[in-house]
Structure formats: structure tokens, C-alpha cells
């Protein structure tokens, strides 16, 4: 039997986390096939066919799949999943929305958000906001698994030439109507894949003060993150939230500014390679995970930080 990965894309481009999911899925089963469901998504299918880990691409193309509604995707996945023992997808908002709907109809108990493949049926996954790691073994004949993308390296993008086959369409559902998507466009690296992330918390005091963070992010080519408190306060939009119910990031460098470090925030960033905390409260829990802690008023420290960075001429991009 083989594994089937559900690709995430926007009909034009493959979403970056699909490459991480492909690495994870090919650790589960080397005979990895990728299901590309979308509308006018030939380019996506072709890109995926060039990934060396991929043995076959199955493309299901129809207008009804344009906006990735799970009510439509589910039927298409089930129709094309008969010969697979594992169905795999990223544990981001795309996969979290879709996979349980598939699992329930297959009468499978889904394994969510795995961070390590131990064997084809046994996985490591974080529970309690990452405060415990559970080793779990799925006993279902057909398994539904979502993977935490940042725990796996992205697969190489070229060198392969897998066959692209046409898959069977599912039944069209009228249960849900797509209205609009408000995507925040940015020239910055994506939060989930950036090498450097600088995040602001409640201590920033206002949305306007985030310009101090932006200036440093520009200098370091960093993505901008935020704690839930900063998003709730309206300082910044929800797509920046790092944490248990937001995004999980694992950059080489994570700089937490004015973030106290609630358990829920730590869940989203504590696997980062190097963590810097800048906070005026020396007792803030963020210091317990920081490699370098600076107890200082951020409004003084951030402009100084920018000055010091400007003095360097060797910043890695």
C-alpha cells in the first residue's frame, strides 16, 4: 500500500508547507502519491511531479474546487483514496479544516499534528501546548494523519518526473458558499518558513509602535509575529499570531519583544534555534526559554538594536 498526500496550493502555486508535508509523508511510506485537487491547477500538478520524493500525481480539476471548501474536497479525497493506507496533510488551517471531515467518513481516528514519524503506524505528537510529547500508535486500517510542517524539512523541488494522472471527481456540495478571502499581502518572508522572526506582544502598547519591530524586520529580512494579546488588542492582524492556537514557528532566530511568555505563546515558538527576549519585567516567563535575555524598556532597546544592526555590514539574508 502507498501513502496519499493532499497538496495545499492556491491553484497557481504550491504552498510552501506542502514540501514539508511531502518529506513527512515519504517517511511514512516511500511510495508516495500526491493528490492535487483544484481548479485550472495544471501548473501545480506539474511542479509537484518534479519533486523527487513523489511517485505519482493525481489531479482532480473542476470549478467546484476553486476555493478549497472541505465539503467538496472530502468527497474527492475519499473517491481517490481507496488504494492507500495513509492519507496525509499539513496541520495548518487548510489541513485542520479538511482532514477530520475525511477521517470521520472513513471511520478513522485521526492522528493530528505529528512532529516525528517513528514507523508507518507510530508517531510522536505534542499535547498540552507542547508541554508533553505523546507516542501514539494508530490501529485503524486506513490512517488519517496531519503533520506539523515546521518539524520536517522541505522536500527538494526539482529532479523528479512523476506521472500525472487524472483522478475521479467527487460529488458537488452546495452546503457552503465561498464569499471572500482577505489575504494580507506582504513582501516579507512567510511567518512559517522565515529564518528570522521578530514578534511583539502587549508590551508594544499600540499598533503604531509595531513600526519599531518593522524597522528591525526590514533589516534582518525577518517575518513579523505577535502574541495573542497583541492581536486581541488590535495592534496587528490574526495571520501574525504565534502560539498554540496560532502558528508554530521554528526559525533560526526568534526575537520576542514585550511578550511575557504565556504557555500558549511558548507552544508556538519554543523549538526555535535561538530565542532572544526583550522585556522590562525580569521575572517574565519568556526569559526561561530565552538563550539571550535583555531586561530593558523595549522603546529604548529597539532603536538601539536597529543602530547596532546598521553598524554591521554582514547580516545574513
Amino acid at each position: 500500500m502507498s501513502a496519499l498526500l493532499i497538496a495545499e496550493h492556491n491553484n497557481k502555486e504550491v504552498k510552501p508547507f506542502t514540501y514539508n508535508a511531502i518529506t513527512a509523508a515519504s517517511q511514512i511510506d516511500q511510495d508516495l502519491h500526491v493528490l492535487v485537487i483544484g481548479h485550472s491547477c495544471d501548473g501545480v500538478a506539474k511542479s509537484i511531479s518534479e519533486i523527487p520524493n513523489v511517485k505519482k500525481v493525481i489531479q482532480v480539476d473542476d470549478k467546484i474546487y476553486e476555493n478549497y471548501l472541505p465539503e467538496n474536497f472530502t468527497s474527492a479525497v475519499i473517491k481517490n483514496s481507496e488504494n492507500y493506507s495513509q492519507i496525509v496533510c499539513s496541520a495548518n488551517t487548510f489541513g485542520k479544516n479538511l482532514m477530520p471531515r475525511i477521517a470521520a467518513l472513513l471511520d478513522t481516528s485521526q492522528v493530528s499534528d505529528i512532529i516525528k514519524v517513528i514507523s508507518a503506524d507510530t508517531f510522536l505528537r505534542p499535547i498540552y501546548a507542547g508541554n508533553a510529547f505523546a507516542t501514539v500508535k494508530s490501529t485503524d486500517a486506513k490512517k488519517c494523519i496531519t503533520i506539523r510542517p515546521t518539524s520536517f524539512d522541505p522536500a527538494p523541488t526539482s529532479g523528479g518526473s512523476a506521472e500525472i494522472a487524472k483522478g475521479e471527481k467527487g460529488e458537488a456540495s452546495t452546503l457552503t458558499k465561498f464569499i471572500k478571502r482577505e489575504e494580507v499581502k506582504s513582501d516579507r518572508p512567510e511567518l512559517g518558513t522565515a529564518r528570522v522572526v521578530i514578534s511583539g506582544g502587549r508590551g508594544m502598547g499600540s499598533g503604531d509602535n509595531f513600526k519599531l519591530i518593522t524597522a528591525i524586520a526590514d533589516k534582518l529580512n525577518a517575518a513579523i509575529g505577535a502574541s495573542r494579546a497583541a492581536v486581541d488588542a488590535g495592534y496587528i492582524t490574526n495571520d501574525h499570531q504565534v502560539g498554540q492556537t496560532g502558528k508554530v514557528v521554528v526559525p533560526d532566530l526568534y526575537i520576542a519583544v514585550g511578550i511575557s511568555g504565556a504557555i500558549q505563546h511558548l507552544a508556538g515558538m519554543k523549538e526555535s534555534k535561538i530565542i532572544v527576549a526583550i522585556n522590562k519585567d525580569g521575572e517574565a516567563p519568556i526569559f526561561s526559554v530565552a538563550d539571550y535575555g535583555l531586561e530593558a524598556d523595549l522603546f529604548e532597546a529597539l532603536p538601539q538594536f536597529l543602530d547596532e544592526l546598521n553598524k554591521l555590514n554582514t547580516i545574513q539574508k
Binding site: P100, N131, S138, K177, I179, E182, D291, Y292, L309
Partner: protein, 249 residues
């Protein structure tokens, strides 16, 4: 309109969870328990819709051991009209919970089902979507805004890229994000009144649902600890360390 809200009892979000030494799970004895935070948002939203006159009844349901009733009582204290406790002991997976909820939906015939988008204990993020699949209802997950229209819902969803807006018919399932609303606190008089509200008890075994776990939990362990870091005394020292010691800039 009738709204069913599913709530779960979990370790309180402020508790630093500890792993049991024998690797069988986490310590729950003498640990503060609360309603799963986004489930509070789900209850709040249902009660607000009722207060706006668009719903007549809010029913809170929980699945779990005896003490899980506390979460239903709390829901009753903030405005739910009736509670249901489906009793089941031991580990119960989202698939089994969604099958139990399916039976409750068939019995109660709600127009909408709300619940939190994710439980903060197992972090599975499955139950709402699974219930939607079993009922063949539409799903609106990670909702940060719900607008009840004549025969439909307009829901704004928090997704990785930003926000997405969809329209679902009624009935449908909505899983709620923490930013949906500000849950109210239960006042003492309302806590007292809630004790008089009806709370029905059902045994999961009487619903004919197989709740046996399909996932074997082999062990639970502490995550690797981070090496203790240092405090730096100035921004200049920080930049020097990042450049020459950590080599990340």
C-alpha cells in the same frame, strides 16, 4: 432556532502541565480544571444570539466523567437553558465524541451546533469537523465572526493567510476561535439559578456508540528541555552574542 453547544472539561489553561513519572499521561489529581477556553466563546456566542431574539433555546452538552458536569453547570450559569451530560469514563477520542454528539443532535434536533475550535488538552482540532461530516452538514471552522441571517450564517474564519468569509445554510456546525467574543462571567445569583435548570444524564453505552480508543497511547514524556540561557546587560552585548556566538545575524 435552537443552538446546541458542546463543551469540554480540561486542565485550566494557566496550569503548568506535568507529565506522570510512569509515562502514562499527565498529572490531573488536585489540578485546577476549567471549561476549554474556546468552548466558553461558543457558549457566549449562542447566548448572545438568543438574547438578540434569533434563537429560542441554548442546550449545553458535554461528554466525559462525572465531574464533566461542572462545565455544563457553568454554561447554564451564563445563559444556557438546558444541559446534557453524556457519561463515559477513560480516554475518549474525537471520533467517538463526534459519534455521541451525532446521536444527541438526532435527539435534540438543533439548528446550529457550536463548539471550540480545539481542545487545549489533546490539541486535536477534530470534533466539529467530524460531526459535520457524520451529519453531512456544512462546517465553518475557526470562526471569529458569526452573522445570523434569515436562513443562513455568514461566518468569518481565521485562516493562515488572513480572513475568509463563507456562507453556510442552516443547519450547520461552527467551531469558535478565541477572538469571536468576550465570554461573560457567571454571577453568583446566576450560578445559584443554574442549579435549578434541567441537566439530563445519559450513559454513552445507551447510545449504541463504540467509544473504544483506536489510537494506542504508548507513552507520554516531557519534551526536551531548553538549555538555560543568559541575560545580557546591553543591546551592544546582545548583538555581539548573536553575531559571534550564535552566528544567526
Amino acid at each position: 432556532m435552537k443552538i446546541l453547544v458542546a463543551v469540554k472539561r480540561v486542565i485550566d489553561y494557566n496550569v503548568q502541565v506535568r507529565v506522570k513519572e510512569d509515562g502514562t499521561g499527565v498529572v490531573t489529581d488536585n489540578v485546577k480544571m476549567s471549561t476549554n477556553p474556546p468552548d466558553d466563546n461558543a457558549i457566549e456566542e449562542a447566548v448572545k444570539i438568543k438574547e438578540s431574539g434569533k434563537a429560542k433555546e441554548v442546550v449545553a452538552v458535554t461528554v466525559g466523567e462525572d465531574k464533566a458536569q461542572e462545565t455544563v453547570r457553568k454554561a447554564l450559569a451564563v445563559g444556557a437553558d438546558k444541559g446534557i451530560h453524556v457519561k463515559v469514563d477513560g480516554i475518549i477520542e474525537p471520533l467517538a465524541v463526534s459519534k455521541i454528539l451525532q446521536k444527541i443532535v438526532e435527539k435534540e434536533k438543533p439548528d446550529l451546533v457550536f463548539m471550540g475550535k480545539q481542545a487545549i488538552d489533546d490539541d486535536c482540532n477534530q470534533t466539529g469537523q467530524m460531526l459535520a461530516a457524520l451529519l453531512n452538514w456544512p462546517q465553518a471552522t475557526f470562526a471569529s465572526k458569526i452573522e445570523v441571517k434569515d436562513k443562513s450564517l455568514e461566518v468569518t474564519r481565521e485562516v493562515d493567510e488572513g480572513l475568509e468569509t463563507i456562507e453556510t445554510g442552516i443547519p450547520s456546525i461552527v467551531t469558535c476561535d478565541l477572538r469571536l467574543n468576550e465570554p461573560r462571567y457567571a454571577s453568583l445569583p446566576n450560578i445559584m439559578k443554574a442549579k435549578k435548570k434541567p441537566l439530563e444524564q445519559i450513559n454513552a453505552s445507551d447510545l449504541g456508540v463504540d467509544t473504544k480508543p483506536r489510537i494506542e497511547q504508548i507513552k507520554v514524556e516531557e519534551p526536551p528541555k531548553r538549555k538555560a540561557g543568559i541575560k545580557v546587560s546591553s543591546v551592544a552585548e546582545l548583538v555581539e552574542k548573536l553575531k559571534n556566538e550564535a552566528k544567526v545575524i
